[in-house]
Amino acid sequence: MREYRTLGLRLMLISLVCVMALAAVNMWTAPIIEANKGGGAGPGTITATAPGFSGNEVSVTVTFNADGTIAAVTADVSTQTPGIGDKAGQPEFLEQFVGKTSAEGVDTIAGATYSSSAVIEAINKACEQFASGGGASNSVITETAQGYSGNLVSVTVTFNADGTIAAVTADVSTQTPGIGDQAGKPEFLDQFVGKTSAEGVDTIAGATFSSTAVIEAINKACAQFSGN
């Protein structure tokens, strides 16, 4: 029995030292790994998959501009043959899709047919999803804020891939007709286009609560977008 205790204790000690070493290395490398991951799924993106070589999946993340053209493409081709199929994940191949609204016009890679076809198929899927869904769902954010008399105002902001506002619509039906609903009019909302927050836009004289609420909701949406 005593022997087992020694065995157990010694193994535990060895494991403890190893774990501490691992924790130290992890603390050192984790921030770098996280920073490198930067170009992953962010706002304004759709991720789609398609089967590639030997049926192994390829995953593609497409970043869209508000007008539906492709801003950027990244592809996870780790399941494909190294040195051959992973050419479908290289910038030289993926850059060809920028500015397009589908994968049309881009040829498969000679010698990496299955892998590059899969990337093309996934990009087309993403484009279809974008078109039918009215945009990349994470580039359209709806936020609410309390307006006049505490009644809620709901604002929907559509973002471009670079984080600037493409469009704003507001539901101000709970606000005073003829007064507060000015905050839902195009004249007011157009001011936000191209901005990354509601800064620099003044409240509407005489409709302070309502317009403040819209401004607050827009700021919330912007914060949520950049937090994604």
Binding site: R10, C18, V25, I33, N36, T81, I84, D86
Partner: protein
């Protein structure tokens, strides 16, 4: 340092065959895998040699594995942080270094033995690691040139050859063929050396 040629782990001891076949499709992949494994080899040999009196005989295998796995995890994290392209290229074979026979075999047969001190164990790990890296690089270069027409990514035999290369060698089957070829080559050379030695002994 016998591990470099005479006791080359891949072609003489025939250890660690799995990563040899899987990661040698290109020169850079094979080379990187070799270096990563070498690092683990030296590290684990040193630590195990240091701890050989502390590790109880009955649990030496679990203890060795814990040490080896720790080094592999460190290598994995460092690669993911600083060599992301290689990390993605080698994929699942990095964690599989843990079960690479070479490492466990040297730990058991060399580093764990009382007559081998820490320095000798480190040198042994280094020699085996270099031999492994050379083996993987040779196979990687061969399979890349013949199978994809490129070397380190550049089509050295012309674009035409690159498009129509012997793709077979880039597949797992080709890996086996290449391995067999190199094994035959090494055997041929060593047979000649052996027979010359015998002739010399008998001559004297």
């Amino acid at each position: 340092m016998h591990g470099i040629i005479a006791e080359n782990p891949t072609f003489r001891l025939v250890l660690g065959t799995c990563p040899t076949l899987a990661t040698t499709i290109s020169l850079i992949n094979g080379f990187s895998m070799g270096i990563a494994t070498m690092f683990v080899l030296v590290g684990s040999n040193v630590v195990i040699s240091l701890l050989k009196n502390f590790i109880p005989e009955k649990v030496r295998i679990p203890a060795y594995i814990v040490v080896i796995a720790t080094f592999v995890s460190i290598v994995q994290m460092v690669m993911q942080a600083f060599f992301l392209d290689l990390y993605n290229a080698l994929g699942v074979f990095i964690p599989l270094i843990v079960v690479n026979c070479i490492i466990l075999a040297r730990a058991e047969a060399f580093a764990g033995k009382p007559e081998n001190n820490v320095l000798a164990s480190a040198v042994d790990g280094l020699g085996m690691g270099i031999g492994f890296t050379i083996a993987l690089s040779l196979m990687g270069a061969f399979r890349e040139i013949v199978g994809s027409g490129t070397l380190l990514g550049s089509p050295i035999l012309g674009e035409g050859f690159a498009a129509n290369a012997f793709k077979l060698f880039a597949t797992p089957a080709g890996g086996f063929f290449t391995f067999g070829l190199f094994l035959a080559l090494f055997n041929l050379v060593f047979d000649k050396i052996d027979s010359k030695r015998k002739a010399r002994k008998e001559g004297v």
